[in-house]
Subunit: 332 residues, 2 copies
């Protein structure tokens, strides 16, 4: 398995270099990015000439906080939730712990992070626990009560809990953004690009106590995000009709993918409609078989039995996947 495909999803250039084909030939199912993006981006002219406006930044943070159900005073824009986590981790100054099966950055962000943590095992000493909800790549969803129990344990030991809600936009009932307060040791990360399907913008948010935001701001400076992030983020988070429609549409698209996978005996697991995970001993050969047919999925170096699928954008993409899975199984 080649390293580029197990490092992160979305590396279509490496896929083309390895397997050939023009960019237009490929269907990229290697990320968890909504393939039906918010349609307003093309209609917004960006003024690149001036420095990003501080008032516009504050307005965006307030608008986004409304979408998250967070206190606007505790919500700060960052250039992507991944960059936000990498900046936060050293500021908190504690050893990191993350789930064995988790987003790769959860391990990379901390010095000497300890993997393989079981959420309800007895914790030892002050640590920064990070958990994605829903989790990536297995889509496991935890309740607010479970997260609050983890937070109480962390606080009792002088630790922190970071909840990565990068994929939470469809499951608002489990978000803990509203619980972040200056008196709690709870931080939530949110992502703009995944739900809105605009990953190139590089926009995320950190919801955290004021003292943490002040340190984060010191590392980022006065212009944490670019002019397009301000303009597109503001308009997209205000588009409540599109947001509601997309919250309904993504589970339907995920169900169609699940039904297709089921026809090949593959059981999609987890509770996140933005990507689906299968477990099969054929995961590695299936990755290669699909890539030869110009469909990029997401394999995992240390879990060779897993394969993650993003949502096909439409019926044509579903049909392509159907044919490719059929041909791959016939080969295999």
């Amino acid at each position: 398995m080649s390293a580029p495909f197990t490092h992160h999803g979305g590396d279509l250039a490496s896929a083309r270099a390895h397997f050939g084909g023009a960019a237009a030939d490929w269907i990229d199912l290697s990320t968890g990015i909504n393939p039906q993006p918010w349609p307003g981006a093309a209609g917004i002219a960006i003024d690149w000439r001036v420095l990003p406006d501080r008032t516009a930044l504050a307005d965006l943070e307030t608008q986004a906080a409304g979408h998250f159900g967070a206190d606007p005073l505790l919500c700060r824009a960052v250039p992507g939730s991944e960059a936000g986590l990498r900046l936060l981790a050293p500021l908190l100054g504690l050893p990191g712990r993350h789930l064995a099966l988790s987003y790769r950055t959860h391990a990379e962000a901390f010095e000497n992070a300890e993997p393989g943590w079981e959420p309800f095992a007895r914790p030892q000493g002050a640590t920064t626990l990070i958990i994605a909800n829903p989790n990536n790549p297995d889509g496991q969803l935890r309740t607010r009560a479970e997260l609050l129990a983890l937070l109480a344990r962390q606080e009792a030991l002088g630790g922190w809990l970071i909840v990565d809600e990068a994929f939470a936009d469809c499951r608002t009932e489990t978000s803990v953004c509203d619980l972040v307060a200056n008196t709690r040791r709870l931080i939530v990360l949110r992502s703009f690009g995944k739900f809105f399907g605009l990953a190139g913008v590089r926009l995320g948010f950190v919801v955290a106590p004021r003292a943490v935001l002040a340190q984060l701001g010191h590392r980022l400076g006065d212009w944490p995000v670019n002019a397009a992030a301000l303009a597109l983020g503001m308009a997209a988070y205000a588009d409540t009709a599109w947001i509601a429609g997309t919250r309904s549409a993504l589970p339907v698209m995920a169900a169609a993918l699940d039904a297709l996978l089921a026809r090949y005996g593959l059981v999609a697991e987890g509770d996140c409609p933005m990507f689906r995970l299968i477990r099969t001993p054929r995961a590695q050969t299936m990755f290669t078989g699909l890539a030869r047919r110009r469909i990029l999925t997401r394999p995992f170096a240390e879990q060779p039995h897993l394969l993650r699928f993003g949502l096909p954008a439409d019926g044509a993409a579903l049909d392509r996947l159907d044919q490719a899975l059929g041909a791959d199984l016939a080969d295999g």
Copy 2:
């Protein structure tokens, strides 16, 4: 003097809140950003849907390194040179020293930075010295020989020299980008938005030894800059005709501003054609007088005799400034 105007330039929203007027009424001379931006931005369609492409990032870094005269292997894109410095400072782990009169971020980026450093005073112990060349706001330009002498002193004590070349695009003969090497303790910062007049893009570069770039990359993650930064940066750094024309044009525009200021007895100092600094006991009242006439300049809280002017974009802006200076002096 109100804090927003002495913190950084470019805060037109605060200027409007304090002094009134619509955005279109104002001429913003409070930054050192080229007012005649690279004209290609509007013609480039940005695909915001996908994650920024790693191959495109490597291509941009190679293209920019060519513009800087740097080794492409030692050049990394960052989301603005200011963010780059704020990330670098704690990685180097040494006390910071900066010029008394310097870019505000030079002090803020370091814990317990020591101001008031005289460049050729005897250094004490290992420090990270930062010096902008040309310096901001006084435009002082140092030769490569001077910088090499500083570097030798820093290296002898186990320190680092960071040269902030954010405003260096017009003065390539003094750049030390080509001297950065894995065996030297020299780091250079470059800015895209100032020379190309596209500050909203948030793109800068760090030229540094590989070990420093590896640490920096660890803090920034796999997508350090947004999709527009990749597309616009690549096209703009490749536009050698526009670059050459702008290197000729900016000094002419600066000379026109100098001549105008001289008619009011004001002597512009320094050797940077992207902004001009005057020293006058009337600096604070002149800032207010110009702002009342919808021209924003850059005052300094701790140096109340200084006022910095960006370049007026055209003859009409020069005329507005001429009238405003005349009316202000008549008032004063």
